[in-house]
Amino acid sequence: MTEMQFEPKIIAFCCNWCSYAGADLAGVSRFQYPPNVRIIRVMCSGRVDPSFVIEAFKQGADGVIVAGCHPNDCHYISGNQKAATRAEFLTSFLEEVGIDPSRFKLEWIAGSEGEKFASTVKRMVEEIKVLGPLGSEVL
Amino acid sequence: MGEVEKVFISGLREKLIEDKVITEQDLVPEFASEIIRYGGKDVMTCLQCGNCTGVCPISLKIEYKTRTTIKYCQFGMKSHTLSTRWVCATCYRCYEHCPADLNPAELMIALRHIAVREGIVPPFVKTAASNLLRYGLTVKPDEAMLKEREQLGLPQAAITKPGWERVKKDINTIIETTKYDRLLGITNKEEGE
């Protein structure tokens, strides 16, 4: 990391119906964002097992986003609520194991919110650049 | 400052509408965001239904109108709006009735914050705040009443005990730390001292 600037690795789990569509719309609208993010498509934010997020950090992700439909808009009735519950657990878990919980974000991004997708990624990359690579935080 | 004291009752409306047309030069566009910063957070949500004016006890008495004030704030009419800031009784009836769930009373409080920072401080605010610095209470203790206490057989007032010096010192320290004394231009020295 000496010769070049730190480039965070960010994983974004996106639900098929809202957030993945939102990311598509960002593309169609040509909203530019940094290339540090890798989108993994799931059908619902409720599909994201907390162990996926932990595994991502274990394998060296610097930040993880779980993106789903807005409350009450879930294609599967309440999957996003379950994602929200798991996110609460994850936040406190990450704190326990010494990972800054701001490295993990739960976001509601609708299919119509291309700009929000782009700005979410942008902000996340900036924030993680400030935090430094995973493991550099002192809690 | 003297002028401001007159304006609120002599009628804001007349001053605005009869005297001149409002142009962009009269407006402060960032006024709304300033209000939001001081806690009047919902100023832009107002749908101007007038319910707040209808329930406001003050609006019934003088030319001040709650709804119009909100409109002025949205619009950026800063100097006109600041002149009405002290007439609100903070009874919160406007808030209880607002269908848009705004809190006009808190908006008035935000306006007071701004006014004070513009150097518009009514005398009674200074008096009350200096009282707190000098005596540890905002109402100046009354010798006659201290005597009354004895008559009624009440315990000796804490303010007359030696421990009160410490209380006054703590209060002075807090006010110095938050720079409130400088904001209002007050000191803990008695007048003429």
Binding site: - | G39, T90, Y92, A105, M145, T173, I175, T178
Partner: protein, 309 residues
């Protein structure tokens, strides 16, 4: 639960009789509650001045009082709507960790720190910090237990007395800060008045403002008095014998404003004073003769000797 008296500024310097009444009603001759004094309590501080002009200063000054109660592990008993609303709102502001941190930075200069009162969670080793509890005198009196004790300790039932209850704004609003009673249909002071044997009358605009709050009285006394006049008209239309309020500042306004618009004044007393009268306290100690509007017609109607000095 142990309580700490919080009398604020208006009561000691304008109506010491209220202080006597509160102490008597809550004390060994009255409801026998465990209340003590914290002598370092200062101004709440006044919302119309401090909350209105600088929230940080207001919060630090209020937190200072809360810290004293926190150290004593006691609940604060306020006898004034202003103190009640100011201190209660402060506890809510302080429940925000960031705000608490900022305020504690100021408080560190005087060696204080507000955390809330630590408490152990039952059945575990975890502890939580409970915000300092701020109570209104009326809220403490209005429990099943104390109301029963109250009804049993009436020595001078207030028969045929028509009471106009004035709650005052900061007892009721804003609702999320002061939810101790139904904000649209408050009943607690009316209930107390009824237990004392009096009749609580309904009148138009009962929940309206006395006119004094928010600095209006200090700034434009004529405006404040005009509002009081409106309320007074509605009250006198119903032939009230007395105005009863749980707030000394509303009391001050009603008591001093009346002379500006009427010759036939209606006496104004604090709910604690009315309780003390009915519960048989020494009338000469209630400071009633210090009120601007004479309370003698009321006392005469109750059937006790007038007090004068």
């Amino acid at each position: 639960m142990s309580y700490a008296y919080f009398f604020g500024c208006v009561i000691p310097s304008r109506y010491p009789g209220i202080e006597y009444a509160v102490r008597w009603v809550m004390g060994p001759e009255g409801l026998k509650l465990d209340v003590s004094d914290i002598e370092e309590f200062s101004c709440c501080p006044v919302p119309g001045i401090f909350y209105s002009t600088d929230r940080d200063t207001w919060l630090a000054l209020a937190a200072r009082n809360l810290c004293l109660a926190q150290k004593n592990k006691s609940e604060i008993v306020t006898v004034c709507n202003g103190c009640f609303s100011s201190l209660l709102k402060a506890t809510e502001y302080l429940s925000e960790p960031k705000v608490m941190g900022q305020t504690n930075k100021v408080l560190s200069k005087i060696g204080m720190k507000y955390t809330g009162i630590p408490e152990r969670v039952e059945g575990s080793n975890r502890r939580v910090f409970r915000p300092v509890s701020v109570r209104h005198f009326v809220g403490i009196v209005h429990t099943d237990e104390t109301m029963k004790a109250l009804s049993e300790s009436i020595k001078r039932p207030l028969k045929n007395i028509k009471v106009a209850v004035h709650y005052g704004c900061h007892y009721l609003r804003p609702t999320e800060n002061t939810a101790i009673d139904d904000p649209n249909d408050p009943i607690k002071v009316d209930d107390i008045v009824k237990i004392l044997g009096a009749e609580s009358i309904e009148y138009d605009d009962k929940l309206a403002c006395c006119g004094a709050g928010g600095g209006v009285r200090s700034h434009i006394v004529e405006l404040a008095n005009a509002l009081t006049e409106d309320k007074f008209k509605n009250i006198s239309n119903e032939n009230a014998d007395v105005i009863v309020t749980p707030c000394p500042f509303c009391l001050l306004q009603f008591d001093t404003a009346q002379k500006s618009f009427t010759k036939r004044g209606i006496p104004v007393v604090h709910v604690a004073q009315l309780m003390a009268i009915a519960m048989g306290a020494d009338l000469s100690k209630l400071g009633l003769e210090l009120h601007n509007v004479s309370c003698n017609p009321l006392l005469a109607k109750i059937g006790v000797t007038e007090v004068s000095r």
